[in-house]
Amino acid sequence: MKRLYSKIAISAVVGAVLAVGGFGAAQAQKVKRGGILSFVVGSKIPSYDGHVESTFGMIHPIRPFYSLLIRINPDNPSSPTDFICDLCKGKVPAGADGGKTYTFKIRTGVQFHDGTPLTAHDIVATYNKIIFPPKGIASSRKAFFKMVESVSAPDDFTVVFKLKFPSGAFIPSVATPFNFIYSKKDLDTRGYTWHKKNINGTGAFSFVQHQPGSFVEGKAYARYHHIGKPYLDGFKAISAPKMALRLQAIRGDRASIEFRGFPPKARDDLVKALGDKITVQESDWNCVLMFTPNQDRKPFDDVRVRKALNLAVDRWEGSKYLSKIAIVKTVGGVVFPGHPLAATEAELVKLTGFGKDIEKSRAEARRLLKEAGVKEGFTFDFSNRAVDQPYKVVGTWLVGQWKKIGLIAKQRVQPSGPFYNTLRKSSDFDVSIDFNCQSVINPIADVTKFLGSAGNNYGNYDDPVLEKIYDRLLRAETESDQRKIMREYENRAINEMAHLGITLWWYKINPHRSYVKGWKIAPSHYLNQSLDQIWLDK
């Protein structure tokens, strides 16, 4: 056992060194060119269109074919504020005109994989599709750009974003990895849905083939605009829905890495079996598992019942034990833990259900239930997603927590498709597992999840007070103002109304073959997936 721990410690140290020393260290090691990176992906590709999809099943195999206007710094992906230009030139611009105008200078000489030269008009057409989609065209991140008034191109290599009001959420929104830059020609001539089934980007790799349910293959793009990259000859994204399969693929060296994350036991097994051939990188994860009471249904329209559901959950004990068997760990509020806008522990323990005296919380929960007329043994339907990590593990834990205040949750587990249908369309649930997984850490955009008006909120409620607080938050200019208003927002959403229940924030563990160099873990499984900086030390 001691040997195992020492192996894990060594791997973690190696990972940490990579994370801290980073790319500079990797370059000092002298980059080796060539080779094919094989990696496993645990989810299907619903379509190739980044503007529509929200799943890592699409991002991991498809992102390498595309570029963004700006992106997180691949050498420092943990930073929520370190952005660099991808298709723009120089530094990421600061806002002019009191923070209401952002002017991006675009690189020259960039070509799409079909040979079409890239200009500012392609970027304008792309962002107009994302921010102002025509009726009937889906855009999953339209709400991120509430502050944008217009996007225009005064010349072929300049893009100007005009904002309605200054907002700190703008630049992180632009860096969202789903904002693939499409060719205006494709959008104009082939339509806004063409990219669902076709690929034409300016990314580090060009598309070779996709065998549905099997793999996606890409080869290095010789005219890639980051000169000298990519280092790889190509990549192969292998579809492997079962975790055991993904684990065995890495163990047997049929795949080098999985970019989403494994639970601690899987990490331990790999380290035990492969020793220093495995490097482990770990990070907090901008993803939180929640539960959503359906306020269209009784008794969940009663705030006392929703508060009781929250009070029953011992998050501090859950963090201690669930972190050993699941990909969750950190106790946090509405904002990604550790971010300057996040609640401190002292602030957190004041929130409903975050107190450290669980017996007191549960006694209060029982009192509230009694007051609301909910009897001991009340049974309700609890909808969950048929994905072990972390949904089923946390779901089973929640069932046990609610039982402690006399509530019986009947867990109904469904595969992803029917689960989403229940959550998003039919709304046929009493309480459902829910999540808020975002890419770039952008708390002001990320917390929209709690707004009844948000496209990804399924609680069936309207809370004008919360909407007003959010509007103030969106317009707050200084960090201290943002922080103050964020506490108000958190207090309203969790303490006063208990609209949604936060469980635990995820924790990302990426064990990978040690010969995979240049990739650094980010606090999101959507980030840092261009693969242009990865090389194989074989």
Binding site: M243, Y321, I325, G395, T396
Partner: protein
């Protein structure tokens, strides 16, 4: 004729066939069908486990006890604990309830429905029999697990839907076997006599034909229980059966097999053994029942 009557009147049946005490009958059966007896023991133990689960188990099968998570087998937890700290022995004992409830429900509902439909099909014959058998052919064209998966995907998961999913494919299987026996019975004169007496079709089917196809029916039931337990475990393993935290063997296997096969193998081994033993037990018992009820096999 008169002599014969006198002889019958003088000799008592008990003297001709002296009754054996129950333990002698049991020993006789064990000698004749040792494997069947072993199967019966397994079945009886399972039933007792299911009935007395509350008494046998010192722990709550559903309550998480994280301080004991993944404890290896030992004095406190004979079969160890799972990732939620729940005692595996307790969950196995309670899991027998789920297995038997699903097994017997599916077997009885499926077999009884198949029995009535099969006998009715044989009795009425003609176009009804022709059309009904083609419908049965369609159902029987699908393997059991595929049919069950299709039904679960329509109705959803959960114990009730699992019972429906497993019962539906059992019906045509039982109906087909029972029909072949009933076809022979239909030709026996007493059925004609009953019809001549003006008995209703329902009375002829239920009171005169059904009791005469009981032997294959009972054998089908015993086989169905084992198959239903296996199917329930398979569906639960695939995440389509009963759901956590309900103790069910297939679910226990699913929860532990993938992640803890190496570091905590007991999580997957015990439910695997339980499923194998239960199916083995019911199959042995069913085979012995077939041998005992089939005159040809009994003579051999």
């Amino acid at each position: 004729m008169a002599v014969a009557s006198e002889v019958q009147a003088d000799v008592k049946l008990d003297e001709l066939f002296p009754a054996k005490p129950w333990h002698a009958v049991a020993i006789d059966l064990i000698r004749r069908y040792p494997l069947g007896a072993a199967g019966a023991v397994i079945v009886v133990v399972m039933i007792l486990m299911a009935i007395f689960a509350d008494v046998l188990s010192p722990y709550d099968p559903e309550e998480n006890a994280f301080e004991f998570m993944l404890t290896p087998p030992g004095l406190q937890f004979w079969m160890g604990t799972d990732q939620f700290g729940r005692d595996i022995l307790t969950r196995l004992v309670y899991g027998a309830r789920t297995a038997l409830f699903v097994g017997f429900s599916c077997a009885f509902i499926g077999a009884f429905t198949g029995l009535v439909l099969g006998v009715a099909s044989a009795y009425f014959g003609g176009r009804f029999d022709l059309i009904f058998q083609r419908v049965m052919d369609v159902f029987m064209a699908f393997p059991l697990i595929i049919m069950a998966l299709a039904v679960v995907s329509i109705f959803g998961t959960g114990t009730q839907n699992v019972i429906i999913a497993i019962t539906i494919p059992f019906i045509p299987r039982c109906a087909r076997v029972v029909r072949s026996s009933a076809l022979a019975i239909r030709e026996i004169p007493y059925v004609d006599a009953a019809r001549a007496c003006g008995f209703s079709d329902a009375r002829i089917i239920l009171r005169h034909m059904v009791p005469n196809v009981m032997a294959p029916f009972l054998i089908m039931i015993s086989a169905f229980v084992g198959q239903a337990i296996l199917l329930e475990a398979s569906l639960s393993y695939l995440g389509l059966g009963v759901q956590e935290p309900t103790p069910a063997w297939g679910l226990m296997l699913q929860g532990g097999a993938e992640e803890y096969a190496e570091s905590a193998p007991w999580v997957a081994i015990w439910p695997g053994i339980a499923i194998s033993l239960a199916v083995f037990g019911f199959n042995l018992f069913g085979d012995a029942l077939r041998d005992a009820l089939d005159p040809k096999l009994r003579a051999q």
